[in-house]
Amino acid sequence: MRQAANTLLLCVLLFGLARGEPQAQLTLADVVARLGTPAVIRGNYTQTKEIALLSRPLESHGDFILSKLGLFWRQQSPPAGIVIADGKRLVQQIGDGDPEVTDDSSNPMALPFSRIFLGIFSGDEESLRTHFEITFSATGEAWEIGLVPTTEPMSLAIESIILYGREHIEDLTVVNRSSDKTVIRFSDIRTEPEHLTEHEIELYAR
């Protein structure tokens, strides 16, 4: 269930960074309004996970595409894997293994997240507010959105989510109830070409 929650968050964020160029007195409405605009976004990421049991954080990196086909998330190492998420299903492929499909209907708990996900797709601040308590602050170029889940089951798993950016979104932090922490740092964001290339469309087809 957390997978789906985080899927949604990534989408929120990545849509947000499509419009870079924050204004001096940026408001939450400005940021949220951008979420609804469809675009193709590509980039690289580095993920750092701090888990209580581990003496050092786990680090991984890869690239991603966000488009109207959903999110394509490819982890290059370690270990290699691909996740494709849209509103209806989650496809997961480990290494060269067979893709595993999680359907909405076979996982009842994934559905609340899909609903939120779809709400946000349409750039609806109201929809965000029904599931999160939102804080917003901006200092010059930099802005930060804090999301605290207010509805189950997301609130059972996640304590808070913090998005930080300047010209673009720069990182996303998820703090779990178990006090584990995941930080994803984005780099090399590209919105050109405007549409998915044939190669990219093939990537989604799994």
Binding site: Q3, T7, K49, Q92, G97, E152, D180
Partner: protein, 780 residues
């Protein structure tokens, strides 16, 4: 003369007192609540189950009897969901509805997960155990992917569930269902391009009174109507026992008035066209009223209630109870100058009394079957006939003026011609006819089709059937009261027995004999199974955890501590823990405890296609029985049908011996030919019409005997006044055929079968009754 007048007065006064008492008693009883019942199951015999099976059956009946299922459909699932919410809200307003489920609460799911998490090492699924043995690397790889994936919060449970097996274990506890989907807690399924959202409600009780039934169904239909009117294009499917019960009550109510009013109108026409005066009608009306009052009073006193089914049959009593009055008025109309009421009564006394006794015997014979419904019917009808008989004996003397007959009446003309037809025919014709019928019976009887299905008792309106079928298709589950009862000495033994029979059930699912099942051992594995799961888990952790943790970078101390925790001894998940937890809420009623504390459980079966195949496959398992109430009742119907047939044969022999003391054996045989042949020919004709026969056709044979023998006895006792007797018999055959003919129009197959058999049987008995001319005792 004076003394007889006084005697007449005394009997008239006693009759009046009796009738007034019956009326007062009836009025008192029906002013209370619950005197009229309509639940079909109350007609059926108590099952001779042992206490545990009885408790299990009651449990399942309770479950099925209180359940109301709805599907709300629309092209747009969002609209359907909103409509489902509105429907659920307005259903809850009705106090007869105990609960409504429209969404599965997420916190409910979390509570279940919370309950099972401490037992996660013991509930591994068969697939997981298999993977541990053959694909350990695959398990590790999936766990790693979960940790590294941006979507996986997997790391959270790294210390307590390092391979993240719990979610799949939990999922595997539930039976798979490929038809129903979830959306935001709503269950839905697609059909004909529309999405149907599921709503389930439960009524307070499976046996609602007639008033409650009406309140409930009217409320539900109003709620559905308002949901439909708010959104055009929304359609609602509904099914549940209450809807069938309601329809059955409505159709029975309609039938009581159709049969009652129909009989009365027929009677009125018959009397008006046959007699010149309305006086016979007065006598008949009084005797019907007195008969009904006494029948109701006696039935209510004996049983405390009247079943609607009894009233449907009882309405046909009108046609039978007027027979006595017909004999009296016919005797009057045909009597000579010296006729007086006393003399008329004397003339018909023997015939009418014998007729009453044989009818009562026939009705009481209905009670051989221990069906409460039939017992009540017998008491009701007997009391009604006695009431009508007493009315004739006590009241008829009041009218001292003579009846006059309409000479041109069709009934009279027919009786005359019919009688002369028989009188002109010689013995050759008579014996020839008997021979031909005998051949027909010998050839025809073995070809009749019999179907003992218990469903004949309940009307099956096609619209309700259609909705039920659609709902079962949407739900992918059809539950119809078939289940396995598992017994054992201890809870652990019970769970093990369930687990072993579940292998058999899984193969039956494979061969489509059933579509699925629900069992407690899904939710609480036996201790033996828990230990197998646990030791496989411990072995796996010991083998794989160290390298796996090292690759993640867990430091050695923490890894050792974690491994020690994961391999420390398990505490058994006991059935009692589960029963007390919220996790068992939906299924804890599958667990039963016998009188001396021995446990038992119900395995609910879905979509049973072949009960016989199921029973033969399960037979090999000790202490597991297939329980299917409908099938057993159908078996019971078959047994009683055979028993009624035997009993009829015995009754004929007894009646034959009784008649032989008065008429001698050869004549007695001839007296019995009309009712016996009439009954058998009726069965053959009905079968030839393409209908299957059931218990109720055979029960009707009892009435054909009881009424049919009246005809021959009246004729035999007619002392050569054949025309007056034939005339009376014609009238009574017509009224009997009218009222039972109306029963044959019933929407309930059992009532229809009964009515049709009596209709055809009485027609045959009437047509054959002149065989008795010249057989009277005085002609010896």
């Amino acid at each position: 003369m004076r003394s007889s007048f006084t005697r007449g007065n005394i009997s008239l006064i006693s009759w009046a007192v009796l009738v007034v008492a019956a009326l007062v008693l009836t009025a008192l009883m029906i002013s209370g609540q619950g005197w009229l019942r309509s639940n079909v199951f109350e007609l059926l015999p108590e099952s001779d189950y042992d206490p545990l099976t009885a408790a299990a059956t009651e449990q399942v009946d309770m479950e099925l009897g209180t359940r109301l299922l709805f599907f709300i459909g629309h092209k747009d699932r969002g609209v359907a969901k909103a409509a489902a919410d509105r429907l659920a809200a307005s259903l809850l307003e009705q106090p007869l509805i105990d609960s409504v489920t429209v969404r599965i609460d997420e916190s409910q799911y979390a509570a279940i997960a919370g309950f099972y998490y401490p037992y996660r090492r013991q509930i591994l699924s068969a697939e997981q155990l298999q993977a541990m043995a053959t694909d350990a690397a695959g398990i590790e790889q999936r766990a790693l992917a979960d940790i590294f994936s941006p979507f996986g919060g997997g790391g959270a449970n790294l210390a307590t569930d390092p391979f993240f097996l719990f979610a799949d274990s939990l999922q595997a506890l539930q039976p798979p269902n490929s038809v129903v989907n979830f959306d935001d807690g709503y269950l839905w399924a697609a059909r004909d391009g529309r999405d149907y959202v599921f709503v389930m409600a439960k009524t307070m009780s499976p046996s609602l009174s007639i008033v409650e039934q009406e309140k409930l169904v009217h409320h539900i239909d109003a709620a559905i109507g308002s949901v439909r009117s708010q959104d055009s294009g929304v359609d609602v499917l509904r099914t549940g026992f209450s809807f069938y019960a309601y329809e059955a009550t409505q159709s029975a109510k309609g039938e009581v008035s159709t049969i009652g009013v129909g009989s009365l109108i027929g009677l009125l026409l018959l009397v008006m066209t046959t007699f010149r005066s309305m006086r016979p009608l007065t006598l008949i009306a009084i005797s019907i009223l007195a008969g009904c009052a006494i029948a109701l009073a006696v039935t209510l006193s004996v049983f405390g209630y009247v079943h609607l089914f009894t009233l449907v049959f009882g309405a046909s009593l009108i046609g039978v109870s007027v027979d006595y009055s017909f004999h009296y008025v016919a005797n009057d109309a045909f009597g000579g100058e010296q006729w007086t009421p006393q003399r008329g009564l004397r003339n018909i006394f023997t015939g009418v009394t014998l007729g009453l006794l044989t009818s009562i015997l026939a009705y009481l014979a209905l009670t051989v079957a221990p069906f409460p419904g039939l017992q009540q019917l017998a008491v009701f009808s007997s009391a009604g006939l006695i009431g009508a008989y007493l009315t004739l004996i006590c009241v008829s003397g009041v009218w001292r003026r003579r009846m006059t007959l309409n000479e041109r009446s069709l009934v009279l003309q027919f009786a005359k011609r019919f009688l002369s037809l028989w009188e002109r025919s010689g013995p050759a014709y008579r014996y020839g006819l008997i021979g031909v019928l005998a051949v027909l019976i010998v050839v025809g009887y073995p070809t009749i089709d019999i179907d003992d299905d218990v469903s004949v008792l309940q009307a099956q309106p096609p619209e309700l059937k259609r909705q039920e079928a659609a709902i079962q298709e949407l739900l992918g589950v059809a539950q119809a009261g078939t289940f396995l009862l598992v017994k054992a000495g201890t809870g652990e033994e019970l769970l093990q027995r369930e687990e072993s029979v579940r292998h058999e059930l899984d193969t039956l699912i494979g061969s489509s004999t059933i579509t699925g099942y629900q069992a407690i051992s899904r939710w609480v594995p036996s201790e033996a199974r828990q230990r197998r799961s646990f030791s496989a888990y411990v072995e796996f952790v010991k083998q794989r955890l160290p390298a796996y943790f090292e690759s993640l970078g867990v430091d050695a101390d923490a890894a050792a501590r974690t491994q020690a925790k994961l391999t420390q001894d398990m505490s058994v998940l006991h059935i009692s823990d589960w029963l007390e937890s919220p996790a068992s809420e939906q299924f804890r009623n599958l667990w039963l405890v016998g009188d001396s504390g021995e446990p038992a459980s119900i395995i609910l079966l879905y979509g049973v296609q072949d009960v016989a195949e199921l029973a033969s496959r399960v037979a090999a398992y000790p202490d597991i029985t297939v329980v299917n109430k409908a099938r057993e009742l159908s078996g019971l119907f078959g047994q009683y049908r055979a028993r009624v047939a035997r009993m009829l044969a015995t009754a004929y022999v007894i009646i034959l011996l009784g008649l032989a003391t008065r008429y001698g054996l050869p004549r007695s045989v001839l007296l019995l030919v009309p009712p016996v042949f009439a009954g058998l020919v009726a069965l053959i004709i009905i079968s030839a019409l393409g209908e299957t026969l059931n218990l109720f056709n055979f029960l009707a044979m009892i009435l054909v005997l009881g009424i049919g023998i009246d005809f021959t006895l009246f004729i035999a006792e007619a002392r050569h006044e054949y025309l007056s007797t034939m005339f009376a018999i014609t009238l009574s055959a017509l009224t009997t055929m009218l009222s039972f003919g109306l029963l044959s129009l019933s929407g309930t197959y059992a009532v229809h079968s009964f009515g049709l058999t009596v209709l055809i049987g009485i027609a045959c008995a009437y047509l054959l009754s002149p065989l008795a001319t010249g057989l009277g005792s005085e002609t010896r």
